[in-house]
């Protein structure tokens, strides 16, 4: 074995002459493949949405051309041509995607406005709500999971798990209604105040929506991280550290917390998409002027460009967050960072 290693040493020193072809290090290739995957996922998802929108019954050309029986077939046909809806689907998709990548989402079919202008402020509201909900999930879920894992099986752990299981099962929009009823008159349950104007008021208005949206993710973070912590604390290498007299606190804070966080991080990243989807519903409950209202109206009036743009934004956020998670994984986990295979 000693021999094997020294040969390996020499091998590394001579690597230049033996392997003239430069091979990128593991993390570069990991980044490359993550980027490629992200691109494929984004294209695939937007394409599916594009097709599904057109499979929903209802013809925007007929809706736009005018009310009821007064419209002739020629008028409908002309409107269709004007909107470009007479083109083959693949051509339509291609035109849309290439424009979208330049930031041009076209005009709303219904509202006579550029989609990017419609999105602007609403996107900010949705992003704020999702961000606060994420904070709620992390601030509640992570500490609770650590405490529950530390005092596993204690009464507090059992109660936390019960609350957790219930929390996962409760839909966010239903929780939103409950919160509105419960906090009527105590906290603002309606409307939006921009962050720039009055920060305290802004946060007060966002508190209940963020709680409604973040609770589901909080319980998921709690369950995942608690299970991860318990698993790690029972692992062989933790036993080794214990056997060698490393203190219980150091084991908990330095070994277990970091190792258990990897799977939790993955879950959180995957849930960001769900979070933004949920945000659309919660916004409607609390009358927040976010993307939610826009999407609902867009679907009802078959306003293809608006719906597509909203989904596009969510897909891009989802893909980017997952990409960042992949990269973070490579930073945290040496088995990925250093792999040369």
């Amino acid at each position: 074995m000693a021999e094997q290693l020294s040969r390996d040493d020499a091998g590394t020193a001579r690597a230049g002459s033996r392997r003239p072809v430069w091979r990128p290090p593991g993390w570069v290739r990991a980044l490359g493949s993550s980027l490629a995957q992200a691109f494929v996922v984004a294209m695939g998802a937007t394409f599916v949405v594009f097709i599904v929108m057109r499979l929903i019954p209802g013809d925007p050309a007929r809706i736009l051309a005018g009310p009821g029986g007064s419209v002739t077939a020629e008028q409908v046909e002309r409107t269709r041509r004007e909107l470009g809806l007479d083109q083959p689907l693949l051509v339509q998709y291609w035109d849309w995607v290439t424009a979208a990548l330049r930031g041009d989402f076209g005009n709303s079919l219904v509202l006579n406005d550029r989609v990017s202008d419609l999105l602007g402020d609403r996107l900010v509201v949705t992003a704020q709500l999702s961000f606060y909900a994420f904070l709620v999930a992390v601030v509640i879920g992570l500490p609770a999971s650590l405490l529950a894992a530390r005092w596993q099986g204690a009464a507090a752990d059992k109660i936390a798990r019960l609350v957790g299981t219930t929390g996962i099962a409760v839909p966010s929009f239903w929780l939103a209604l409950l919160l509105i009823i419960a906090f009527q008159g105590v906290l603002p349950t309606f409307g939006y105040v921009p962050a720039g104007r009055e920060l305290a008021d802004h946060l007060a208005h966002m508190f209940l929506p963020a709680l409604a949206l973040g609770t589901g993710l909080a319980t998921l973070v709690f369950e995942t991280n608690r299970a991860g912590m318990i698993d790690t604390l029972g692992s062989d290498y933790i036993r080794t550290s214990r056997a060698f007299g490393v203190s219980e606190w150091r084991i908990f804070s330095r070994y277990a917390m970091r190792n258990a966080f990897l799977p939790t991080m993955t879950i959180m990243a995957i849930q960001v998409g769900t979070l933004m989807g949920g945000a659309l519903l919660v916004e409607n409950a609390f009358a927040l002027p976010g993307m939610g209202r826009l999407v609902v109206q867009g679907v009802l009036s078959r306003d293809y460009p608006v719906v597509q743009a909203c989904i596009f934004v969510i897909v891009v956020v989802f893909v980017v967050v997952n990409l960042l998670t992949d990269l973070l994984y490579a930073v945290v986990d040496p088995r990925i960072r250093r792999s040369r295979a």
Binding site: L5, T240, S241, F244, G245, V246
Partner: protein, 336 residues
């Protein structure tokens, strides 16, 4: 006579399911300073559980009872908090699978430094230097490079050397080695065993070697305890126990050894299987599989006792059994 370094007195380990069942029942073990002692027995006989109980490392749910005396200090085995004081500095332990026993997300040098931090007064830089020295001491080439490596980048033998270096760094008076070579290739196995023997001599450590490999035990240990179904059934000097076994279970184990040149005989086996923990025989635990059993053996579980001229054994018929066929070529450890 010098006092024992470690003595385990009436150790029992109770499992949660079924209630009251014992994985280890009334085990006594003694180790003298600097002595290499083996505990042998098949999987599930309680040898590993016994070792874990001495450091308070039992899995949640298992509870130990009995007394442990180490270097004159006495501990109650149910008091795991007090047993923590023994970990590292007094008793260090190495394990069977060196891959799962090292933190996969931390360079091995940092794990070693953490152990040094818990057991020595060295400052950060002194610890880093000591890590490299220790790795060099256990025969690792390029120790500075290996200190920065992660466990998955090292071979099984290297990982076990890292664990041994970690143990040596604590300068313990007793090293518990729980099947340290089971997961390794045979050639690496021999190197690791030789390293352990050298270190034990050099550091004047005692070693508790847990194994099911009678060959290794014969070569590296002075005394042996044979465990069966949670009890010690025989103990004595390695040479005596393996070449002239007294207890029928030890005889059966020794007869199962494959010897070179034995030709194409069928491999010997012990008929039957170890009794399950929730269905222990009332009498001698080995009785259902014992070819020497008589009806008295079913009545009560015989305690371990001195058998004149033959060490200690837990068998009613120890004196009257025919002379055994022992393990060929067993040498006392001192001759190696």
């Amino acid at each position: 006579m010098t006092p024992a370094l470690l003595s385990l007195d009436d150790i029992s380990v109770t499992v949660p399911n079924p209630p009251g069942a014992q994985a280890v029942a009334g085990v006594d073990i003694e180790i003298m300073p600097g002595e290499a002692v083996a505990v042998v027995g098949e999987s599930g006989c309680g040898k590993t559980v016994t070792a874990y109980s001495t450091l308070g490392l039992l899995a949640p749910g298992l509870t130990a009872s009995g007394r442990l005396t180490f270097g004159g200090r006495s501990f109650d085995l149910s008091d795991t908090a007090a047993l923590r004081n023994l970990r590292g500095r007094e008793i260090a332990m190495i394990f069977q699978d060196p891959l799962t026993c090292l933190n996969p997300l931390m360079p091995v040098g940092r794990q070693m430094a953490d152990v040094l931090r818990a057991n020595t007064d060295l400052d950060r830089r002194a610890r880093a230097r000591r890590v490299v020295d220790l790795l060099a001491r256990v025969g690792i080439p390029a120790p500075a490079r290996v200190a920065r490596a992660y466990p998955f980048e090292l071979s099984g033998g290297m990982r076990q050397r890292v664990l041994i270096a970690m143990a040596v760094g604590c300068q313990p008076r007793l090293l518990i080695a729980d099947e340290p070579t089971t997961a390794l290739d045979t050639t690496v196995q021999a190197q690791i065993m030789e390293l352990l023997r050298d270190l034990v001599r050099e550091q004047d450590m005692a070693m508790l070697f847990i194994s099911h490999d009678l060959g290794l035990v014969a070569e590296f240990c002075e005394r042996v305890y044979v465990m069966y179904a949670g009890r010690v059934v025989e103990s004595g000097p390695v040479e005596q126990v393996l070449s002239r076994p007294t207890h029928p279970y030890t005889r059966a184990l020794v007869e199962c050894l494959v010897t070179m040149g034995a030709g194409s005989r069928r491999l010997a086996t012990v008929p039957g299987s170890v009794p399950s923990i929730d269905a222990m025989p009332v009498g001698c635990r080995f009785e259902p599989r014992c070819r020497f059993a008589v009806s008295a053996c079913e009545q009560s579980d015989p305690p371990i006792r001195d058998v004149p001229g033959r060490g200690r054994a837990a068998c009613l018929r120890a004196e009257e059994l025919p002379a055994p066929s022992g393990m060929a070529g067993v040498r006392p450890a001192g001759d190696a």
